[in-house]
């Protein structure tokens, strides 16, 4: 009997994947009442704080059917946020089935569709599940119809559950046995195990999470990473239970972990295939795409002496987050730092927060941007992920920028505002599709640079929170782009350069100057703030010199207070960056971001 079921839970963000996973763990007795807490699989601090899943989490459960049969369930809970879509794609590869969760009050959203298509591409058995049926606003009929229209299934195929109350979850457990096919058990083929995730443990080094596709891996076996040929010994292998459970072998169809004295995670590459040194497989498991960074930003230590600490911290972060990339960068304004690549803005925020929180390093970040491709005069074509490295105008033949395909699902009442937003952001209309419940899916092609900033916030506020957004990279396209430089007292501040569409450059220049005027504290001398394209100044503002700032009174009772204020000012001043003779606060480096949308368009 084939008693293994490998499946993942996929859904739009917040539709209740992790909560449903809680119930599955609870009902199968995989976790004791004492250990139980909400969204237990979200075990990173940041996940718990933000209430979202950032990383996939794999867990093994024992399920005993009412008829007494015993099954092993390997579940992978996935994140819903678009930044982490690649996590979903990895998880899907390790499974035969996917539970597609849809919030019965919200209905189908952008990531519901994109995740579903990914699962279909992988030939997974889909179990559609209406969740949150306990909510008063739940609309099982309407949303059920949306699902039927989307998947082409029957109404009877859809399960109704509440991850909160546990209603319907037992039926779901049974349905998994019935509908998700068991994995092929090709034990006798040469070993091929897919690495679908990896974590770094300070004591054990890298731990690879694998799905054995074919063959058997035994404890002590010599194994090889097929991507780079590095070989290790399987020191410990085991099952991914709530507490890791060592075992002697992992057979075809099983999911587990491998620890192989792999101290550096560079060798453990998610998507790679593990095979055995004797009797190796001929080919790796195909079809894995690496997670590509989409946005880039400079990260600099506030105090120059923290540079090495920052490097160490980034190295450590990367061990657990292979999608983070970085390389050293030197800025005239900010000194030594790194240019880092992220999957999206949320990912960037999370990395910055971890640097600050887990490593206690005070950092300055620059405005994020996308990666451009520049066709130089002559034949050469280069990638530019840092505005200050954009070649001089004369050397550029053409600049190409990344475009994405965005699909936006919104109630039909908001079609107008959504389209206006997309047009303002240089979008190219593709089509719109009407769905059940008066909802519509609008597709646009947009320059990614216009979407990564605050597009999502604008979309949300323009649709009273109802719209959802999903996007994927499509291609590079030609763009009429220019580099906008900022000069302070005549000196160009490299960290403040940005790349923008020519039509928006004037406006942006004026606004950035005005914002900087607001942010840069008055100094003993006047500071000229200028925006320029090449050598042409297009905007100017002035921070006037301080005329008078001295505190009026300082008698016996004022001294303590004044000294405490001084301490604060000293700390604030230490965090400023000296650029030439001018002192700039950290916020200034994000000035472009802190402008509101009316400012930007």
């Amino acid at each position: 009997m084939n008693n293994i079921r490998n499946f993942c839970i996929i859904a739009h963000i917040d539709h209740g994947k992790s909560t449903l996973a809680d119930r599955l763990l609870q009902i199968t007795g995989s976790i004791s009442e004492r250990e139980m807490q909400e969204q237990i699989l979200d075990d990173m601090d940041l996940e718990r704080e933000r209430g979202i899943t950032i990383k996939s989490h794999a867990i093994r459960m024992d399920y005993k059917r009412p008829n007494g049969e015993e099954y092993v369930y390997n579940l992978i809970d996935t994140p819903g946020h678009v930044d982490f879509a690649y996590e979903v794609s990895r998880a899907l590869k390790a499974c035969e089935g996917a539970i597609l969760v849809v919030d019965a009050a919200q209905g189908i959203e952008a990531q519901t569709i994109s995740n579903l298509y990914q699962a279909i591409d992988q030939d997974l058995e889909i179990i559609p599940v209406l969740n949150k049926i306990d909510l008063p606003g739940a609309d099982p009929e309407g949303v059920g119809q949306q699902i039927v229209d989307l998947i082409g299934c029957d109404h009877e195929d859809i399960l109704s559950v509440s991850g909160k109350t546990g209603e319907g979850v037992e039926a779901l457990l049974e349905t998994i046995v019935e509908r998700v096919p068991g994995p092929k058990r090709e034990d006798d083929k040469p070993l091929r195990a897919l690495i679908f995730d990896s974590i770094f443990n300070t004591y054990r080094g890298s731990v690879a999470y694998v799905r054995v596709m074919e063959g058997v891996l035994r404890k002590g076996d010599a194994f090889r990473f097929m991507a780079n040929g590095e070989e290790y010994n399987a020191e410990e292998i085991g099952y991914l239970k709530m507490n890791k459970e060592p075992t002697k072998e992992l057979r075809a169809g099983e999911v587990g972990y491998v620890i192989g004295s792999v101290k550096s995670l560079q060798d453990v590459r998610v998507g790679d295939t593990i095979t055995k040194v004797d009797n190796p497989a001929e080919e790796a498991i195909p079809g894995y795409k690496e997670a590509k960074p989409m946005v880039f930003s400079g990260i600099f230590p506030t105090q120059a002496e923290d540079f090495e600490d920052l490097r160490g911290a980034l190295e450590k972060l990367q061990l657990n987050d292979a999608s983070l990339s970085y390389e050293p960068e030197t800025s005239k304004a900010l000194g030594f730092g790194f240019r880092a690549g992220f999957l999206g803005l949320l990912h960037m925020e999370i990395v910055q927060e971890r640097l600050d929180r887990e490593f206690d390093i005070d950092i300055i970040t620059t405005v994020p941007n996308v990666q451009y491709e520049v066709q130089l005069e002559g034949d050469e074509r280069i990638g530019v992920d840092n505005p200050s490295q954009m070649p001089e105008v004369g050397d550029i033949d053409t600049i190409f920028e990344p475009y994405i395909k965005a699909s936006i699902i919104t109630p039909a009442d908001y079609i107008g505002p959504v389209m206006k937003l997309c047009q303002d952001r240089r979008g190219v209309y593709v089509n719109q599709l009407f769905m059940q419940n008066n909802r519509v899916e609008i597709t646009y092609e947009l320059p990614m640079a216009e979407v990564v900033f605050d597009f999502y916030d604008r979309l949300k506020s323009g649709t009273r929170g109802y719209a959802s957004l999903d996007y994927e990279f499509i291609e590079y396209r030609k763009g009429d782009l220019v580099r906008l430089d900022i000069l302070l007292n005549g000196d160009q501040v490299d960290a403040l350069s940005s790349i923008t569409h020519r039509d928006k450059a004037y406006y942006l220049g004026r606004k950035v100057c005005a914002k900087l005027k607001e942010l840069i504290p008055q100094q003993q001398f006047e500071v000229a703030v200028q925006a320029a394209i090449g050598s042409r100044i297009i905007a100017r503002d002035t921070v006037r010199a301080i005329r008078k700032d001295v505190t009026a009174k300082c008698y016996g009772g004022d001294i303590s207070r004044k000294r405490k204020l001084l301490e604060k000012q000293k700390a604030g001043k230490k965090r400023m960056k000296q650029v030439g003779t001018v002192e700039i606060p950290q916020e200034a480096f994000l000035a472009v971001l802190s402008m509101d949308d009316e400012d930007r368009n």
Partner: protein, 378 residues
């Protein structure tokens, strides 16, 4: 030598800019005086009574809401508790409380320096400040003071008010100078967050003047007073040479002082000690009356480096400045090369005078906060 500060926490009404501690109810005046006397006497035979008292300062609140008899009681208690070698006894008063008799009686108690809270003579500004006195009362009391022959009388003035014109400021100065004061304290209006004014500014109902305007006011004040022989010796204090306030100057030189009354601060640094102490009473009349002064409400110990920084902060506010010798001998610090270089740069800009003493010029004093911060972070 030490100074005593007495906080008299009563006012007739709340001025719109004021964040001093006071109550507007007058019913606890005598209980307060009794308690104040208790607090004073509690220092008898302590180490604080070992030093001779050189200055006494009645501040507030509004000391002139006390009767001369009450003032007498307080001074009696002081003389029975502390050894005295008095040079200056200052008494703050508001124009609406002053009569010929009151001034005479005060003089008899030993007050030799009268400090008058005029703030402005412009009726509109007085109204804006929500002062209890009228413009006429201000002029009357100046006249009385002028005639009363205290050793020194000083007048408080506020400039840089929203909407205040240079002409109005010049008129204020002219009128005050007409009465020939020996000393003037001129404060640029400070907008404190928890005051009526602060709230109105926060709500956008009042727009504070630009710092350019305030800087011009400052210049007008300094020039006009200088022309009358009244010279700036601290950011906001001006005097005829020799008539500078002793009590207040002591604050800026880390002399010891004891504060009595709710919210009063004290500072004590033994001559041989390597740390000084600051503490204060709770700002609450009710608990003061219940003896809260028995234990300090807030207290901090300042080691030499903190004291040095403080001294720089205070010293740079005075025209006299601070001598490098003092910094070295008393505070065991000296300027780093970067600091020295900075000070020379400021000297070239006419903001600092270097030499054995580091002094800010009138121009430098205007931006003393910036200079101090630069100096401490360079």
């Amino acid at each position: 030598m030490s100074g005593l500060y007495l906080h008299i926490p009563f006012c007739k009404q709340a001025c719109s800019y004021c964040d001093f501690y006071f109550v507007t109810s007058q019913q606890y005046k005598q209980p307060f005086v009794d308690e104040l006397i208790k607090e004073i006497r509690s220092r008898k035979d302590t180490r604080f009574a070992a030093e001779k008292v050189r200055t006494i300062y009645f501040g507030g609140g509004t000391p002139s809401l006390l009767s001369a008899g009450q003032v007498h009681q307080i001074l009696e208690a002081i003389s029975e508790t502390f050894p005295l070698e008095l040079e200056e006894v200052t008494f703050e008063m508001n124009p609406d409380d002053v009569t010929v008799d009151y001034l005479n009686d005060l003089k008899k108690t030993g007050i030799n320096r009268a400090s008058m809270g005029v703030q402005s003579t412009d009726p509109d500004l007085l109204n804006f400040m929500h002062r209890a006195h009228t413009s006429e009362e201000a002029l009357q009391c100046l006249e009385l003071l002028h005639l009363s022959k205290f050793e020194v009388f000083t007048v408080d003035l506020i400039y840089g008010n929203p909407g205040q014109t240079i002409t109005s400021l010049e008129r204020d100065l002219d009128i005050i100078l007409g009465y020939n004061p020996q000393h003037v304290s001129a404060y640029s209006l400070t907008i404190e967050p928890r005051t009526r004014l602060g709230k109105q500014v926060e709500l956008g109902r009042i727009v504070p003047p630009e710092d350019d305007t305030i800087a011009t006011h400052y210049d007008v004040v300094e020039k006009t007073l200088r022309a009358a022989g009244i010279l700036q010796y601290e950011v906001s204090n001006f005097a005829r040479p020799g008539d500078e306030a002793i009590h207040n100057s002591n604050y800026w030189e880390h002399a010891n002082y004891l504060g009595f009354g709710p919210g009063a601060h004290s500072f004590w640094w033994e001559t041989s000690g390597r740390a000084g102490k600051r503490w204060s009473n709770e700002k609450k009349l009710r608990s003061y009356l219940n003896g809260s002064w028995n234990s300090p409400y807030a207290e901090e110990l300042l080691e030499l480096p903190a004291l040095a920084e403080e001294r720089l902060m205070l010293g740079l506010r005075t025209r006299k400045g601070i001598s490098e010798d003092t910094l070295q001998e008393k505070y065991e610090v000296s300027f780093s090369p970067a600091q020295t270089e900075y000070l020379h740069r400021m000297e070239q800009q006419g903001k600092v005078i270097t030499g054995n003493r580091i002094q800010l010029t009138t121009k430098g004093l205007k931006i003393a906060d910036t200079i101090l911060l630069d100096l401490l972070t360079i």
